[in-house]
Symmetry: D2
Subunit: 382 residues, 4 copies
């Protein structure tokens, strides 16, 4: 088998991503960008007509009405898919992932991992007892500037961590668009399909994940003030959170989907005893490094002065902007490389978010919701 895949692009399937969806198409572009994989099969919608038309749009070789048949049949084909991409609403993440893992197919799953901590724990057990690989697409960890930041923190470049300020602000839910036909909004504001968290689940988990990824510190306790500003909305659409980190360090995590005028504004500042780092998703190819008493240094991706993690994660020379799709594709690049390694018996490198990161995100949501329900009191993250 090794010989075969070593000489071909991997084959991928997708669940979800049918017409009207957003993130499915991004998964396809990201999975295929580096020329290492091709999406060839799909169960792209629970609506059979949509599924067929969407598969035709994408020139898929094989279209399925249901993901379960897809898992079963692809597992048996000699030219079956090597991995599946799960790009459905949240409530399907767990059952779909389980189905493909049990069929012996590697899984890439969109975040958040599942609907609840219980589901997440079940999925962790499943992955741990399986020999299949699992990746969660916390896209932002794929940016080279983020990988540089992580490497700098790990190597002691900022000294001892004191303060973290992380934000993720959007405005697309500042009005009740779920009542006027936005498919993206409808399921994201519905607890049955989105889970316990609204904004805190949809984007707060990205912020939490990014913070822990870059700093290497876990959130120890939090005090969360969640709001539902738009009348009639059940889930939160805004959150202000105080953080205390394991090993010291404090900070705030703010996320909002009602922050008027903000597009997709994820930003992070990390302050240590020796230096500080600042990154903003609106200009993702720049990482600002602030050494006390020295001029700010604007590190830019594509340069030889960056560490190996960042250098491995760019495709273009400096000054050729790479964006969201490219970052997303780094997750896939690392995942596919691990599939190939697993086929060769080489040690895995796991350069992508894991099922444990996904469980961590669900715990974060549950704790933030619990804190807020108690009137924004402190809660320990176990």
């Amino acid at each position: 088998m090794r010989a075969v895949t070593a000489k071909r692009r991997l084959r991928a399937g997708i669940v979800g991503g049918g017409r009207g969806a957003f993130i499915g198409a991004v998964h396809r572009m990201a999975a295929e960008l580096d020329g290492q994989a091709l999406v060839v099969a799909g169960a792209m919608s629970s609506d059979p007509a949509n599924a067929a038309e969407s598969a035709a749009d994408w020139y898929l070789d094989r279209s399925y009405d249901h993901y379960a048949s897809m898992a079963q049949q692809e597992a048996q084909r000699p030219d079956g898919i090597d991995f599946v991409i799960i790009a459905t609403p949240n409530h399907l993440h767990y059952p779909v992932a389980r189905c493909f893992l049990q069929a012996g197919i590697h899984v890439v799953c969109d975040k958040p991992l599942a609907l609840s901590v219980d589901e997440g724990q079940a999925l962790v057990r499943l992955v741990e007892s399986s020999d299949r690989l699992f990746a969660l697409t916390h896209t932002y960890t794929g940016y080279p500037a983020i990988r540089e930041a992580r490497e700098m923190v790990r190597s002691g470049g900022i000294g001892d961590l004191r303060k973290v300020l992380i934000e993720y602000n959007q405005d697309w839910l500042m009005e009740a668009v779920e009542n006027s036909g936005s498919r993206q909004a409808v399921w994201r504001t519905d607890p049955a399909r989105a889970g316990l968290g609204g904004c805190i689940g949809d984007i707060g988990t990205h912020a939490e994940n990014l913070l822990e990824f870059v700093t290497g510190r876990k959130i120890q306790s939090l005090c969360a003030d969640l709001s539902s500003f738009v009348p009639g909305r059940t889930l939160d659409d805004d959150a202000n959170i105080l953080l205390r980190l394991q090993g010291g360090g404090k900070g705030t995590l703010v996320c909002s989907q009602i922050a008027c005028g903000e597009e997709n504004n994820l930003s992070m500042r990390i302050y240590g005893t020796k230096s500080a780092l600042e990154w903003c998703h609106l200009e993702p190819n720049t990482l600002i490094h602030k050494v006390h008493g020295e001029p700010w240094r604007h590190l830019r991706t594509g340069h030889g002065y960056l560490g190996s993690a960042a250098q491995r994660s760019t495709r273009l020379p400096a000054g050729h902007p790479e964006g969201y799709i490219e970052a997303f594709a780094i997750i896939y690049r690392e995942f596919i490389a691990d599939i190939r390694r697993s086929q060769c018996g080489e040690p895995l490198q796991r350069g992508y978010p894991s099922v444990h990161d996904g469980l961590r995100g669900l715990q974060f949501v549950a704790n933030a919701v619990e804190s807020s329900r108690r009137g924004a009191q402190w809660v320990e993250m176990s």
Copy 2:
């Protein structure tokens, strides 16, 4: 008396600001910038030699060894000072202000107002029972872009307020410079001279004042997590605070003097139901206005499209940067104009922070400290 002052620059005295100080010289430049006043007398240091030399540096007509003699003598001179500037460490604000008010001399006082809420309340009573004017130099309210922001909020331009994010980050206390001779650091980290709050008093009060000035909303309750990161430091050098505002609206206030690489980074974002505003002190002549579904508009000072409050507060055409001294001088311009109005019996306009704003700041500090002491629990701002 009206005729006289109408034809001359006002005469000012200063307490504090001697060699080695920082803010005293800024007061002088700001007081004199618009050609409406001249500093002619001073009690510039408690050290008589320093006082005399400092007065000579400034070409003052009259130098005093003690502020009390200055108040007494200036009040009796026909060419005595019209107002006094208090630019001392915090613990002297109250006694000096009292002394000059009782001598019948108008007072401009640096912030915070006093050492404690009790002192602040006493000063409020004193000012209220006096016919002398009192201004507190919360400098940042003097920026034209800030005055524009306030006018936009007041006129309903942002709709109903939902979220406020305000920050004030510096790094100059990130090491224990109070132990290596920094005069600025020594008194600011000493509870006897600085009061209850360290960072929260020194710069947190600016943030609190600016937030309430621009939004017109008072902080209703807060949950403050204060830290002293630098070993051996008694007062806080960092704060992360959750806010709830009267009339609705939530947010965070972050301030730090250990945020490595930050110079004097005060920034504010205000999100409403119709639009949002963003301002950053590092580029103070720009105010970003974010209307949902429209391009961000970068308002710049000096333009005819701004409201009257902003237009009144610039001196130069657009594209000629005005900075900190100019903003500071707007406080003085408004204060001096009120002195002239008071002499003419015209209604005062009070375009400068008041003794009540100062008391509010002291209450903010007291509540933040109290909240933090209880383990970062919510406290109501009465």
Copy 3:
């Protein structure tokens, strides 16, 4: 044939792009990004071993030792390539393009079009007499913000054009890296392979093309001061040029490959009687619109307020940065759509740079070089 391609990704071949090259891989990513084409064949290097290894790296179905055999054989296969990508050094553009056009295969060619104006004219004649399509990859025209700018100019949004300032600055040739093994540098500084122009050909043509694309005005005359700053270099590595445009309007075009610290800094400002536009490649998702007497408006890609040209050219919601690969892929998207249209007999839309644009670029280089040789005297662009 129509039915077939309507149901499948197009098949592409590539000439050039072997190990050690840069732009070939970008062509592959761009051609494949939207899922409309797949690179399946290649003559990736004149060195047979490199060609074979490079093709294996890319999992190509078919690898050729020479582009001529590729053209011949692919033209005869039932599953032959639909179009070829030319990603070789400049001197091969013309012979390779001729070869594939004569074999009846559509061509996408990197810029500049050819080595000389004569070659360019020959290629124009060839394309005009062929029924095959030809696209030149002036990448920057693919950016949605650039397409918005063009639409605004065309619709009269800036009024009458007065001034254009365009720059393209890099620093990668600021030292004699052609002597120390940089393959990219070696051929670009060699007149035999690069043509008459160094910097002016490599990046100056991008600036010229972008200027004419966005403004819709041709350069009428120019006065060019070209330099070779690096000792031993034959071709120019820096240019300062005065421009006069047909229909009025003046400006400057500056390009450099010795501008220390600049990565790939293409920027353009266009001033009209009603408003102005500014775009910078370092932040390509923003277009600044400056209306006299109004705040600058920062237009951002992905928003509904943009015109149709820009909206058609994004793949992600606002706030998800798209970069160089995505812009490059817009050229391919438009080209592939025209191939499909041609197969259906639908009118072509030609939303990509043409062979005529390529000839224009060669004339620009020739005129700039001629102007400079005469001591930077004015030359008419015929």
Copy 4:
């Protein structure tokens, strides 16, 4: 005399600056900012009523109807002015300067120096044969970041100069405001009062001066394409210029007063063999230093890492923006210090633009106009 001035602020007079003027008030603020001088006398308008009212607005001790009487009388008073400020339209610079120099009074003159090269040469001779000091207010040389840039170039920090790009763009004359009552516009577009140059004289000379000040290189030859875009305008309102510098180095100088949306946008980039510098007046407290192969360093005023020239030219700690008035006041600070030095017999330091710089500016205007008249041909700057 030394003893006296050592113990007092200097006394200044002003010619021009009456109601409706702009730059006069800036001169007053700048002259007085550091507490070293006070404007006490004026001949503020050729209209006696305006002169008197303007003097009253400024609380001047003495108001004159004509500058000649002012020169004569002030020279004879024991408390007469130490220096005069010339803030009139250009055509009066020479006669007024001559008058005060001949009366033995130091002169600060706004730019450009005079109406013509001939006048400028006469003024040079006058200053050279006088023992009075003369300063020209090329404001931008007063910015600390500019002084840092100059020091870096001088000390070899950028290596050998290769390229300079300098621009000064405004839009306030983009319409024929001289026909609708703008006093500023009326005289600036009138050759009798402005001289040979419009935009090139008003702001082009600032750019030329800044370039030569920072690089230490003179312009050797230029090729200037001047335009008068606004119908009916005699003088240029836009210029695009190619430059060659003495000692090598090339570049462009662009200035415009019809560049829609630009406020007062002076910016400069200097590229050497070792590093490059970038400065922009819109954010004047930042100087970007670009070393090949390293991250850009954002130098900020107020920091200890800056050289002595920059450190001497700030008044506030880092992060407290200083702007146009503060830069202007550096010119005055240096000039006043030289007056005091001259009174003590100490060597002058001449840290301000000189009459020779002024003559250089006039020659630049004359050469640019001559070049343009010949159809934008090269002209040697003698």
